[in-house]
Symmetry: C2
Subunit: 270 residues, 2 copies
């Protein structure tokens, strides 16, 4: 069984895309109940999916509907997998070890290929996710520098040793991912790095040479694909550009996804 890094690189080559379709059916965007959110997302997978390599399902949007919401995201994950897309559960979970193991058991199973995790609790909070992921050829993406305006307050705090807090975190993430680096050069342990801080991406790539970067923040949040060059340095799969609002609300989501696919390819291969 190939590790997630190699599976990701292979999927990017096969689909010729490093675009991730974000499924974030917030109720103020998609009125109605869970059925409406599910139908909207299903149509979006069908339309925009062909230009993408993966979907990223924002679990918050489904949890708010309780048990029926949970069942809905599982059906969407299966639909995306049937369409040949990788499935990333955007859960941002993190807890002490035994509880992280339970979250890992909940999330890292068919048809999910990878999960986002919050690493604030440190090694023993993340290790159960990594172990469960690697056992199944799956991956994790640890938050390193998020895309939101308030991220700097804690993630960019200057450390006594001269670096920033998220740089120390990046070094930890690189260490966690070292054992699972595959022939592609990519690890099963990736990093979430916001497109809204392009000035940090080169430094983060230096600190995490083998991590696939999952990059939110392009489009509505203000990030520009043209600024993401160093993210793609490891080759296919090194940088995954996640887009949600810009695809959900495009007049023609299929076309918008294809245009983003081409824009990412131009930077990644340029």
């Amino acid at each position: 069984m190939s590790g997630f890094g190699d599976r990701l690189a292979e999927a990017v080559e096969r689909r010729r895309s490093q675009v991730v379709l974000g499924l974030d059916p917030h109720p103020e965007r998609i009125p109605g109940e869970v059925d409406a959110a599910e139908a909207f997302c299903a149509a979006l997978i069908d339309a925009a999916g062909p230009a993408c390599v993966a979907v990223k399902i924002q679990l918050a949007c489904f949890e708010r509907y309780g048990a029926p919401g949970w069942a809905a995201w599982e059906r969407l994950a299966a639909r995306a997998a049937d369409a040949g897309l990788l499935v990333i559960a955007d859960a941002k979970r993190g807890d002490i070890g035994i509880s992280s193991a339970a979250y890992a058991a909940a999330l890292l199973r068919e048809p999910v290929d990878a999960v986002t995790v919050n690493p604030m609790l440190g090694d023993d909070g993340v290790a159960p996710f990594i172990a469960a992921a690697e056992a199944g050829g799956r991956g994790v993406f640890a938050l390193v520098r998020t895309s939101n305006p308030g991220a700097a307050a804690l993630q960019d705090l200057p450390l006594a040793d001269g670096g920033l807090w998220h740089e120390a975190l990046a070094a930890l993430v690189a260490g966690w991912g070292e054992p699972s680096v595959g022939v592609s050069g990519l690890s099963a342990v990736g990093a979430v790095v916001g497109a809204t801080v392009p000035e940090r991406i080169g430094r983060l790539r230096d600190l995490m040479p083998g991590q696939p970067f999952l990059i939110p923040g392009v489009g509505a949040q203000g990030g520009q694909v043209a600024d993401l060059g160093p993210a793609f340095a490891p080759g296919p799969g090194g940088g995954l550009v996640a887009a949600s609002r810009s695809l959900m609300f495009a007049d023609d989501p299929a076309r918008a996804a294809e245009e983003l696919r081409q824009a990412v390819a131009a930077v990644a291969e340029g």
Copy 2:
């Protein structure tokens, strides 16, 4: 409508307890499927609940069963509320603003009284939880210094200004909670502080004078009630001692909970 800080103080006075019953039915502890986990927790609420002020439901243990698990924890929450206990959803969620708002909508509703949140994303990641909580007389507990062995690697990093990272976080949490401090002196914004680092609790109490502390780590993780004195300084509700394994696996959970209640009261009032 009273704010959560005052509701908490009132509940502690009414029940004469600052013990929180942790419901963590990990499958290696409670074999079987979700029905077995639910039945075990229901019996534990009935037995140990009378000596407690709240239950803390570890959502990881229920998410692993998918949609049926979600329905199970909601039933347990209702059972605890019917027994006069406050309900804390131990979810440790945190995301960018719009997604945090969705998690808040999912979790901060009847019969849940408070939710744990991960503050790594900063103000705009936590604000939607606080807004939703305050609107309903509910509360949040932000992770500040967790009880697990690996917590130090990121949470205790020394900052350029001379403090530690979690102390900067504590100051932020105090600021977030300042507007909701009630007549009891307690805020709707509390803090998770591990009993495994008693040497930090005095400093954290100085930094967060109005935060209720939710304190895991007593018992199986090695924390001692006798070391928690400063946590209780604000009076009733200032320190909530969460116990899980030591109550779940006691020969007599009712008696174990009552003994812990008395031990906490002796330190809190001592």
